[in-house]
Each structure stands twice: as C-alpha cells, then as structure tokens.
C-alpha cells in the first residue's frame, strides 16, 4: 500500500471491479456504465486535488525520474562524472546530449527506484559535491556555448554532518550565482519536487517550467508545520498555505509555463509527458537561442529583479 496514492484508491477499486466483470462476463452495458462512472470520478478527484494531494503526486514513487525523461527526450546522453574536488554525487547527474540534433548540457537531480537505488541516489538530496559537479558542467557548457537544461527533482539539499562540513551553503550559493551569470540560455524544468535552496541551485534559469503535478516550495509542508504550528499534523494545511503548486507559481509569475500531464499523473504515460516536455523545451529554446546576448541578459535581469518587487 505504501506506494499507492490514497486518494486514488477508490479509482483503483473501481478499475479492479470493472476488470473482474469484463473477465467474467465480457464487456456489457454495465461495464460501460461503470467505466463512465470511473471517468467521472477520476475527473472529480483530479480536477479538485488539494495542494497536499499534489505534493503526494509530485513525490510519488512511481513517478518518472529525471533519467527516464532524459533517455526519451535527448539523444546520446553521455554522463560526465565528478566535481574534480571530492567525489561524484549520484544524486546529481549531468552530461552532454543532443536535443533536436544540437548539443546541450543536461543537469538533473535523480531520485532512485526502490530502496537500494534510493539510498544510492540519497533520495536525490545532493551533497556539496553534487552542486560543485553541476557548477563544473555549467562552466563547460558556457565554454562550449551550448544551452543548459536542468531537471529539478529533490526534497532539498542533504542535511548531513559531512555536507555541512564541506560547505552545503557555499555550494548552493555559488551554483545560484554561477547559473545567473552564464551567457548561455538556461531552462529549468521541475518534474517532481522542487525542494527549497537545494532545488533553486539548479533552477535559477532564464525560463522555469513545471510539470502540472510538480511542486516548488521554500520548505516542505512537514517542516513548515513543525516550525510554525509546532505540530506535524498541520502538514496538509501548511501545503495549502505555502502556495507550492505549478498553478500557484504561474500566478505568482515565478514560472514561465506549465507542462501537461495525464489526468492521473505522469506515470500513466511517461512517453507522452516526455513529448510534452520536449515540445515546451523546443519552443523555449528556440525563443532563447534567437535572442541577442544582450537581450538574454536584460530579460534575465528583469525576471529576477522583479520577484517580490515592492
């Protein structure tokens, strides 16, 4: 049950019922009616998701991960490893790839599948060396004059003893500064969880896009509830107050677009979602590529200086 979405359970039960009916009696007016009911129920649930339900979807174990998308969207992805300082962080992957026949740099946070993989990927919570690898690849992209595409999917930077010792704060700060200083176009796509500064480190881009059921937040709803309400049972409430859904962020003019997902989430059709991402990416990239360097710089300046402007 652990990897099921609670609010989806009624639908799963109905589906199972329909499946059994069809198995026993074949398709009938009853099954057609039930299917119609299912569709209705589906809409009812997914068109009225609470922010907390969106959080659960964004974090869902079965949701496609960065490398799933990378393998569909890009060609010849060649992973480049290491920060040349301390280590190679599997929570942060990156490398060269082709997008529409042209070279790009891809940098992404990578969640795992299953316990072992998740431990290996540290649940996509990067250490400082992850951010320093990202910086190294950003500099390489700048040198090669190729655009950077980042896929954001992290609960946040890893809060550990060693990560503090090696300068997690410095690593994130420098990533943000570096990304904002690049002369090349940058696009960030939040595909799942955009967790705080650990996400912003690779999301400080010219264009920020979000999948429909992705979230982006200054703090996790759990953390927020624990601090402000001093009680984690207010997590659901906090999720609402934080305004962390794609729709919220679009309204707040933080992001530049929402990428569609199937009604019940990206995991119902990863290929389709990859194509949606690809289309958005293509559109935004063409836009940015055609800008003169000065204009790119000016637009980035306006974008960031206007955030929360009084």
């Amino acid at each position: 049950m652990e990897d099921k979405l609670i609010f989806e359970l009624p639908l799963l039960e109905m589906e199972e019922k329909i499946r059994l009916l069809i198995e026993k009696e074949g398709e009938s007016r009853d099954t057609a009616k039930l299917t119609q009911l299912l569709k209705k129920k589906e809409k009812e649930i997914y068109e009225n998701l609470t922010p907390w339900q969106v959080v659960q979807l964004a974090r869902y174990q079965g949701r496609p991960r960065s490398l799933d998308y990378i393998n569909i969207i890009f060609e010849n992805f060649l992973e480049l490893h290491g920060d040349r300082r301390f280590g190679d962080d599997p929570a942060m992957v990156g490398g060269l790839a082709f997008f529409n026949k042209r070279t790009v740099m891809v940098i992404a946070q990578q969640k795992g599948r299953g316990v072992d993989d998740n431990l290996f990927r540290r649940f996509a919570m990067p250490n400082p060396e992850g951010y320093r690898k990202a910086q190294r690849l950003m500099k390489l992209a700048e040198k090669m004059n190729i655009p950077i595409i980042t896929l954001v999917d992290t609960p946040g930077a890893y809060p550990g003893i060693e990560s503090e010792e090696r300068g997690q704060a410095e690593a994130i700060s420098q990533s943000i500064s570096l990304m904002l200083s690049l002369k090349i176009p940058t696009i960030a796509i939040v595909i799942g969880e955009g967790g705080s500064g650990g996400a912003l480190a690779i999301a400080s881009a010219d264009k920020i896009l979000m999948l429909k059921y992705a979230i982006f937040s200054v703090i996790s709803p759990e953390g927020c509830a624990a601090i402000l309400w001093k009680d984690e049972k207010y997590t659901e409430k906090a999720a609402g107050e934080l305004k962390l859904t794609a729709r919220d962020l679009l309204k707040l003019k933080i992001i530049d677009g929402i990428i569609e997902e199937p009604l019940r989430g990206a995991h119902y059709n990863p290929g389709q979602v990859a194509r949606n991402i690809s289309d958005s990416l293509n559109h935004q990239l063409e836009l940015l590529r055609n800008l003169p360097a000065d204009t790119l710089k000016q637009l980035r300046k306006e974008k960031y200086l206007k955030i929360g402007k009084i």
Binding site: S173, S177, G197, L200, C224, Y234, E241, I254, I307
Partner: protein, 287 residues
C-alpha cells in the same frame, strides 16, 4: 562590582534573567544574567563591553541598531528605504495570520523589517551596509528584505562603494512561500553585477546565520567573517540530527569549526570586528 551596585542589586532581586528582550529602556544600573555562564553583570558594563560577557566571552545578540552603532562612526549612518515594509502576498495564516505577526514584530522591535540598509562610515570609509535583526521574525528573509538588499547593492554600485552585510537569520520567511525562496536568486543576481564592477563585498555571519541566507548572499561574499561562537550552517542542527540519527560533533557549525573546515576567512571577536573591517577597507582603498 562596587558596593553601590551590589546593594542596588540586593534591593531588586527580580531582574530579567536573559537579555534577549533587551531594549534600551533597561536602566544602566540593572544587573543582567549572562545567557551562557549565568554570571550577573552590571548592565552598563555589558553595554560597554559590546554585550560580550566579560566572564565567558559569550556574544549576546545585538539588535540591528546596536550593531550599526558598534560598527559605524558615530552619526554617520544614513538609512535607506526605512519605510519599506512586508505585505502578506499569499494570505498566509498559521496559528496566527502573517499580517498579525508582522504587526507584532514591528511593535516589538521598532523596525519595519528584519534588515536595516543604508550608507555608513566605518573608520571614515563610506560603505554600503545591510544589518539584519534576528528579533524581527528570526531575521527571516522575505520579499522586502530582498528588495532592500538589492536596492542598497545597486546604490553601492552607483556610488562605487564596498558592501558589508551583517547576517543574523534563521533563513527564508516561510510565510512568503516561494517568493521568499527566490529572493536568494534575486539578491545573488544583484551581487553578480556588484562583483563584476570589481567592488568588494564582505559578509559578517553572526549568531545564528542559517538556511537561505547562508545559501545565498552570505556565501557570495569576497571575504566571509564569522563572529566568535556563532552558529552558521545551511541545515539546522536539529534537522541534521533527525535526518542522520547521528550525534553531532563537538562545536559543530560553530564559527571556529567552520574556520577549521575552510568555510570562513576569519573568526572575529566582536571587540575586534570594527578594526578588522577598517583593516579590510584600508586594503580596499589601498589598491
């Protein structure tokens, strides 16, 4: 301790037991108990010692105004954007609404936001300055802090002044959600422009400086100073303990620990902060 003070204290045994709520209205002749070693100190002595405990060297928290008066040459600080004040863009409400919390913070601190910005003189050198105040909602960074910082950064660019930011913050202001998170990018963007003009930026990390503030402007500085004993880090110690289930090492995330880990340029006792800053400013103008 002279006899008069001692007597005075004997007569008024129910003094405040901490100085977190210290305001300038506390009479000079009141005794204050040190937060760290619990020794009673004559308030005037503590003030004269820059609120550093003469017994255990504990650096008691300063308000932004106190910080400014310790650092700037007397009467030289000219505040900018003093009237800018946070709004509740998201309509955020936890146990209380953000609007009410803001109102209370203003009342408690006499400030309109958790940071004071302006131009001041330090050892006769003009400097762009921002000083955070932890007493205002934990020094948290929201849109107005971002905006005030960006404005003073661009003012410093325009006047070709060096920049000093004195940090004290628990991180981003949750009540402004994603807007507060993106202040990190906004401020670092402005600091990139500042840096590209070859102007010098010094950050001073006081107790505590954590979260989004460390992961943005605090570590975007050319020279990073840490006040003795200050807690400095990205994640808070409790979060780390909960996540890792490990016992934190002795002195973890304290100024000297960070010095040892190569994360700050110098650890500075509050009593030598001004002279250290002057020394760096001399280097800045001696190039």
């Amino acid at each position: 301790m002279n006899l008069l003070n001692r007597l005075n204290w004997l007569r008024k045994p129910k003094v405040k037991t901490g100085i977190t709520d210290y305001t300038s209205t506390v009479p000079d002749n009141i005794w204050i108990k040190c937060e760290s070693c619990q020794t009673l100190i004559y308030n005037n002595d503590l003030i004269e010692n820059l609120k550093v405990c003469p017994h255990c060297n504990h650096h008691h928290r300063l308000t932004a105004r106190e910080q400014i008066s310790q650092i700037c040459d007397p009467g030289t600080f000219y505040e900018e954007d003093a009237s800018l004040s946070s709004r509740d863009t998201l309509g955020f409400k936890d146990t209380q609404s953000y609007v009410v919390k803001l109102k209370e913070a203003k009342k408690k601190t006499g400030l309109s936001e958790a940071v004071i910005t302006g131009i001041g003189q330090i050892g006769s050198y003009r400097v762009g300055m921002a000083v955070m105040d932890f007493n205002f909602l934990g020094g948290s960074m929201g849109s107005v802090m971002g905006e005030k910082l960006v404005r003073i950064i661009y003012k410093a660019i325009k006047e070709e002044l060096p920049l000093i930011i004195i940090c004290a913050s628990g991180g981003a202001r949750m009540q402004e959600g994603i807007l507060s998170l993106f202040q990190m990018a906004k401020i670092n963007y402005a600091l990139n422009e500042f840096s590209s003009k070859s102007l010098l930026f010094i950050s001073v990390l006081t107790n505590p400086t954590t979260g989004g503030v460390t992961a943005s402007f605090a570590y975007a500085a050319d020279i990073v100073l840490a006040e003795e004993g200050a807690l400095i880090g990205f994640a808070g110690p409790r979060v780390i303990e909960q996540t890792t289930k490990l016992k934190l090492p002795e002195g973890f995330q304290r100024a000297n620990f960070l010095l040892d880990k190569g994360m700050v340029d110098r650890v500075v006792n509050r009593k030598s902060l001004k002279s250290t800053l002057i020394s760096i400013l001399e280097f800045n103008y001696g190039r």
